[in-house]
């Protein structure tokens, strides 16, 4: 039984990590908590559903297009909302509340357009076959989800570590002003970050939509909460931290549901978060950033 739970946990955790990665990327580089990330995740899910349902696109292509579409939405949000706030050097609170406004708008629009009820991928479009090892059952879908999540995360990690682009981004994360003086196109890379983060969020949306086969306008909010918990667990702005934090949360949730009670599920993420913040105020891997007198 435990093996089965661990596999479910890995599957869930990898999607959490993928979602949180986009979230943490925006915080690390733009220095902004983008609370519309959950809504973009939800729209990614709907995009894939629409493409599969109405245009009979294969799943992999739908996933790619959904990433592109959610990336574009992220870009638009950045251009309309975050850019003016950056320009006037607004305090932390401003982008947080503005993106809450965006999230409310997007969720409500999705509800108006697609209806409030749960939508499912049409029969036969989601692979249902599975592999059995003894008493452990792994569906192809679970394998695909884990592989896709890890592949996307790996691409991002390698890009950040090894490429010129990644170096530029890390320079911006350190200090946008210094990066600008070094001739880095800071504004352009901000856009790129918003795009990439939203695309990752959209991908996570498609994968969650597939794995639970239930898509609703309200799926973004609980995911956002988990994303917040994950990036705090892992240390804000820390990519490795988001990865490990996401997996950790997946395991903590699945195991607590399996061995304690399903009622505590929603409390697990934040209970952990609360504890970790008290012990290590900057997360498991975060650097302590405090101005000393």
């Amino acid at each position: 039984m435990l093996e089965q739970q661990l596999i479910n946990a890995l599957c869930l955790g990898s999607v959490y990590a993928l979602f949180a990665l986009g979230f943490t990327l925006v915080f690390g580089i733009l220095g902004v908590i983008n609370l519309s990330h959950g809504a973009i995740f939800m729209l990614g899910s709907y995009t894939a559903l629409l493409l599969v349902d109405k245009f009979a696109l294969p799943l992999w292509l739908a996933l790619l297009v959904a990433m592109l579409v959610s990336g574009l939405i992220g870009l638009i949000v950045d251009f309309i909302v975050l850019k003016p706030l950056r320009a006037r050097n607004a305090p932390h609170l401003a982008p947080m509340i503005a993106t809450i406004g965006v999230a409310i708008m997007l969720t409500n629009l999705a509800q108006g357009l697609f209806g409030a009820e749960n939508k499912r991928f049409p029969q036969g479009t989601v692979p249902e076959d599975s592999i059995n090892w003894g008493n452990v059952q792994v569906t192809t879908l679970q394998i695909a989800i884990v592989v896709i999540s890890f592949a996307l995360m790996l691409v991002l990690l390698v890009a950040m570590k090894r490429t010129q682009l990644g170096r530029a981004l890390r320079a911006i994360a350190e200090s946008p002003k210094a990066a600008y003086l070094l001739g880095i196109n800071v504004e352009g890379l901000f856009y790129l970050t918003s795009f990439a983060a939203a695309a990752l969020g959209g991908a996570a949306g498609v994968l969650i939509g597939l794995s639970f086969n239930a898509i609703s306008p309200f799926m973004g909010q609980p995911m956002l909460h988990k994303g917040i918990a994950v990036i705090i667990l892992g240390g804000m702005g820390d990519i490795r931290g988001a990865l490990i934090g996401g997996l950790f949360l997946g395991f903590a949730e699945v195991l607590s549901v399996a061995y304690i009670s399903s009622d505590v599920r929603d409390g697990v993420a934040f209970g952990l978060l609360f504890l970790i913040l008290l012990i290590r105020p900057s997360g498991m891997f975060g650097k302590v950033m405090e101005r000393k007198a």
Partner: protein, 294 residues
């Protein structure tokens, strides 16, 4: 005349009650923000206050003022306990930790027996009168106005502006932060108690993330530079749904839109005395100069 008033009141009294309670909640957020604390725990404190007060009137049948006092004291005591470790955090981290606290409170209320679990509490006696709300709101405003002009208010302002500098000036930063946090919790708790005694029913879902965000929104929408802002924010955001009720399904989208517009174009909220003064001065100067285009 009175008939008109009666029909208006019977239709809209919950709206007016809601605005009064929300104004108190917005002021509790203002209080923590004025000390530089971005705390999202006030919705949870409101819930704790609501549950404490309702349980006292329902189970023990004690008088309403006692219930309200307990509704303020219980969250204040909890705020004192969790504040000591939590307030070491600052900025976004504090926001997230307090958000986590709210979520934990929700799950605890959901799983306890005497709180009614997911069903919440039903049949809370309707004891809140209009004048209760007016009186307590006025009291809150008076208290905060006095505080602004006192040593405490100036200490809050110093901490908000620069924590390190405030500490160097000999201000006991931790104590003042704790004071703001605890007092904010007490105000939110009393507001929760008032709210529970006219809504008839409360549940664990009433005090979650959405509410925390709503409260923050009202406060920032109104403006956090002074006491008028939060009250005005609560009023406008309370009245808007009534005016635009024909938008129905897209009402929330409209709310979100307004929020974005205010943050983008009115960074200090809609009640921003400095901006207004500047506007009138420009106006006056233009009048004195006479029409320019002619």
């Amino acid at each position: 005349m009175f008939e008109w008033w009666d029909s208006f009141w019977s239709t809209y009294n919950t709206v007016v009650f809601g605005i009064g309670v929300n104004a108190m909640l917005a002021l509790s957020i203002y209080l923590t923000l004025s000390c530089g604390l971005l705390s999202l725990a006030n919705a949870a404190f409101m819930g704790i206050g609501a549950y404490a007060a309702s349980l006292i009137t329902m189970q023990m049948d004690w008088p309403f003022p006692v219930a309200l006092a307990a509704g303020g004291l219980v969250p204040a005591a909890i705020a004192l306990v969790i504040g000591i470790p939590t307030l070491r955090l600052s900025g976004v981290y504090l926001a997230m930790a307090t958000l986590g606290f709210g979520e934990v409170v929700r799950v605890i209320i959901l799983n306890l027996d005497f709180t009614g679990g997911p069903m919440g509490l039903n049949g809370i006696p309707q004891k809140t009168e209009f004048w209760h709300i007016v009186l307590l709101l006025a009291l809150t405003l008076y208290l905060l106005a006095r505080m602004r002009r006192s040593r405490i208010g100036r200490a809050f302002e110093a901490i908000k502006a620069d924590e390190v500098a405030a500490r160097l000036m000999g201000i006991n930063v931790t104590a003042y932060k704790l004071l703001a946090f605890v007092l904010g919790a007490a105000i939110a708790g009393v507001a929760g108690g008032l709210n529970a005694h006219y809504t008839f029913t409360i549940g664990p879902g009433n005090y979650g993330f959405e509410n925390a965000v709503d409260l923050l929104t009202m406060t920032v929408f109104g403006g956090i530079g002074n006491l008028v802002g939060p009250v005005l924010g609560a009023t406008i955001l309370g009245v808007l749904p009534e005016i635009f009720h024909q938008l129905k399904d897209f009402l929330l989208a409209f709310n979100g839109f307004i929020l974005v517009v205010v943050i983008l174009y009115l960074p200090n909220g809609i009640w921003d005395p400095r901006r207004m003064r500047a506007f009138w001065q420009r106006r006056k100067a233009a009048m004195q100069r006479g029409p320019v285009d002619a």
